[in-house]
Assembly symmetry: C2
Homo-oligomer: 116 residues x 2
DNA sequence: CTCATACGCAACCAAAGGTTGCAGGAGGAT
DNA sequence: ATCCTCCTGCAACCTTTGGTTGCGTATGAG
């Protein structure tokens, strides 16, 4: 049985998604479609500049993708990359859950031994 | 259909689990059983003090639970709380995936309209 | 008793999230 | 063409957080 830790996970994706503000930005972009730093910032408790920095991070992680249109710059979610991120979350979760199961089995085995 | 954003998530749990070092620590504690700041630190690329701080964070989030034994202080994973964290990861992932699916369906509908 | 070991506390440093302030470019109104 | 507005980018600065080194202290081994 492979005990390899599931931390072959892309740390940049994780930390991109690890920030609560960025998670909410992704939520908003998914819920309302493409948006700009300004449009996002007035749905969030932070300033436009903070949002802009987060958009850079998300862009660099490939989770969003921005296009300039006139004086606006609108960003939209890269669906494939977000799907990848979701898969990695699931992977880490599954790994932990597997270990918890294993511990539980061992605990039960000890319990049985005591009852003999 | 409820469009409520899945950010009713406990931010403390998320950020506890959001840090890569803390994730590795949880991995180690799950893999090798209870451990001390020292025992963890020499399996990690950071100092004992850094590990100690992370243990405080994890403890405060309820993910681990430490007991003093002589001159050692050993920590072990709180399985129930970690299970909760895993559930929250899964919840956010599911929420995003649902939205991605919805977007995909809409895109296909538009595609069909064009083909008429 | 002495020595090694594990710990906690404090000072310090760099990076990240956040803020304010300002200069510049694109569009609409006069 | 001009003026005004709006959205953007850049720079300076503050605070929190992950990380380090250094030190004092307590506990177990010899």
């Amino acid at each position: 049985m492979s005990l390899a830790v599931a931390e072959d996970v892309d740390d940049e994706l994780w930390s991109a998604v690890g920030d609560p503000t960025r998670r909410r930005m992704l939520d908003l972009l998914l819920a309302s479609g493409p948006g700009t730093a300004t449009s996002l910032s007035d749905q969030l408790p932070v300033t436009r500049q903070a949002v802009a920095k987060h958009l850079q991070v998300l862009d660099h992680a490939g989770l969003v993708h921005g296009t300039t249109a006139g004086r606006e710059r609108r960003y939209q979610v890269d669906e494939a990359q977000l799907a990848r991120a979701v898969a990695q979350l699931a992977s880490v979760g599954a790994s932990w859950e597997a270990r918890l199961q294993r511990i539980k089995r061992i605990a039960e085995a000890i319990q049985r031994d005591r009852e003999v």
